[in-house]
């Protein structure tokens, strides 16, 4: 199990456990953490799973691949920054145990 902490726009912190191999999107949805919609089912097609990766974790998570679908899509999400990622594209691997993700107020 991998541990992930989601920080809501209002500052609420929720720590959840998720099986290795699933994604940060599932970590939120399967544990009823509000703030991620994930309309497309996690196949990188909707950008409603936008999160901000905590600065301290950015070097391990990394930016979206340049020129890939995630970069193409994420530019249309609201309030993106250099730490923006789509949660369905962050696979839960052991190096990310303890990951902290910040949620936007609403998904567009």
């Amino acid at each position: 199990m991998i541990n992930v902490t989601f920080v809501s726009a209002d500052g609420t912190r929720r720590s959840v456990e998720i099986d290795e191999g699933l994604s940060a999107r599932e970590a939120a949805l399967f544990n009823s953490v509000p703030g991620i919609d994930g309309d497309c089912g996690g196949v990188c097609a909707c950008a409603t799973c936008h999160v901000h990766v905590d600065q301290a974790w950015m070097d391990r998570v990394g930016p979206p691949e340049e020129g890939g679908m995630e970069s193409d899509l994420i530019q249309f999400a609201e309030g993106t920054t250099e730490t923006s990622r789509l949660a369905c594209q962050i696979p839960m691997v052991p190096e990310l145990d303890g990951l902290v993700l910040h949620l936007p107020e609403l998904q567009h």
């Binding site: 919609d37 309309d39 097609a45 409603t48 193409d72 249309f76 609201e78 107020e105 609403l106 567009h108």
Partner: protein, 421 residues
């Protein structure tokens, strides 16, 4: 053209008896008489990526299953939306002498699509829209309060059209008494002389120029006024859109108007029809009005206000095992994918409390995914909350009439009787 129309009317006893290669699901009559669903069921089963070699729209591929549609919609580098290649519907967009060419990013590829969408997208971001909610709610209430209870009325004319025009006028802060202009311009934007909406391309051009002048006036009034949550003020104030060339600004503005007009209107009508056809679901809703939030995406799936989007292949490609050639026309039938039982549980049933109700194709997916999807849901949610407060039953009392169109899945008349609580 006459022969094409006759071809469309050829009659078979049953869908099963038609030779596969003779199936042409783009025939607009199949949508008007609402029988196209049987054709899609057969194609999903027997030939999910189907080639129609001859139709009045030319040869085209039909993609009918959810996952194949998703694969095309998310492969924008191969499947183009470009207007000059034919654009986004099975009917080619063609340049017509004398027509005003409006540039809209829905029919553009990268990189121009991305620049324009990025500039306009914040005006329909959910956080901005919440500011408009109280006004939309109050105006929706006033329209509903003006309706006669217990008499037969046409829900489309008195409610769906009125509510949609009202919400458009609200999000643009459009002069209230002139709001019918918005609906007219929306109709004119997508009109060609065959539709009867305009008599000629010259007339269309004239009207759109009037529209442009009108919006220019609003823009100039608002550009120096601080604040303003309406879409025109936001576009006039935002650094990304402030200096847009005027025709580009107009194209984007009209895209926002057109995008939200027929689609929202038919979702309002389609919802009433679906609840009447499924009385058990209507009862669930009365018992628990909080279900409105999961019912709205289900109504949008069920109605599928835009039946399809089209792409043009920029190179050879494969879809569902079929070989697509460069230049081929590829039609993604959202209406069919939304009934694909291999992806959506009990896809042929209208169920207002689904677990993942937004997992449908009505808004498309990928970089062209409907930019107004949260706005559409917000409007419909407010409207339904206000309907439920006032009426125990919006009863359909006659046959619905449907639009002759293979793109807009429209209800043109819906006789209802209202019952108060």
């Amino acid at each position: 053209m006459a022969t094409a129309a006759n071809e469309d009317r050829v009659h078979y006893d049953s869908v099963e008896s038609i030779p596969l290669e003779a199936i042409n699901v783009a025939n607009p009559y199949l949508f008007q008489n609402d029988t196209v669903g049987e054709y899609f069921t057969r194609l999903r089963r027997e030939d999910p990526v189907h080639y129609c070699a001859a139709s009045r729209f030319g040869p085209y591929w039909s993609v009918t299953k959810f996952n194949d549609i998703m694969a095309v919609d998310t492969n924008h580098k191969v499947f183009s939306s470009e207007a000059k290649l034919g654009g986004i519907s099975v009917q080619d967009m063609h340049s017509v002498e004398g027509a005003l060419e409006l540039e809209m990013f829905i029919a553009m590829d990268q990189p121009k699509h991305d620049q324009q969408r990025k500039a306009v997208s914040p005006v329909v971001a959910p956080s901005n829209l919440l500011l408009l909610e109280p006004i939309i709610r109050e105006r929706a209430g006033a329209i509903l309060d003006s309706l006669p209870v217990g008499e037969e009325i046409d829900w489309v004319k008195l409610v769906s059209v009125e509510l949609t025009t009202m919400t458009l006028a609200t999000i643009f802060d459009f002069p209230w008494d002139e709001r019918a202009k918005l609906t007219r311009w929306s109709d004119v934007t997508t009109a060609s002389p065959e539709t009867g909406i305009v008599e000629s391309f010259e007339q269309r051009r004239e009207e759109l120029i009037q529209c442009a002048m009108y919006f220019k006036g609003l823009w100039e009034e608002r550009i120096d006024k601080p604040g303003g949550n309406d879409l025109i003020s936001m576009m006039a104030h935002s650094p990304a859109t402030r200096d847009m060339p005027f025709l580009e600004f107009l194209g984007n503005l009209l895209l926002l108007i057109v995008g939200g007009n027929d689609t929202t209107r038919n979702s309002i009508s389609g919802g009433v029809l679906a609840l009447n056809q499924n009385p058990g679901e209507y009862q669930k809703l009365r018992d628990n009005p909080a279900l409105v939030s999961s019912m709205i995406p289900e109504i949008i799936r069920w109605q599928t206000p835009l039946t399809h989007m089209r792409r043009t292949a920029l190179e050879d490609a494969e879809i569902g095992g079929k070989q697509i050639r460069k230049g081929d026309k590829v039609v993604m039938w959202y209406l069919s994918g939304n009934r694909d039982e291999t992806v959506i549980d009990r896809a042929d049933q209208f169920i207002i409390d689904r677990e993942n109700p937004r997992h449908h194709l009505s808004f498309g997916f990928g970089i062209h995914r409907c930019m107004g999807n949260r706005l559409a849901e917000l409007q419909l949610r407010i409207i339904w909350e206000e309907i439920l407060k006032r009426f125990r039953f919006v009863e359909v009392v006659g046959e619905p009439e449907r639009l002759l169109s293979n793109l807009v899945r429209g209800i043109t008349r819906l006789p209802v009787k209202l019952h108060a609580h």
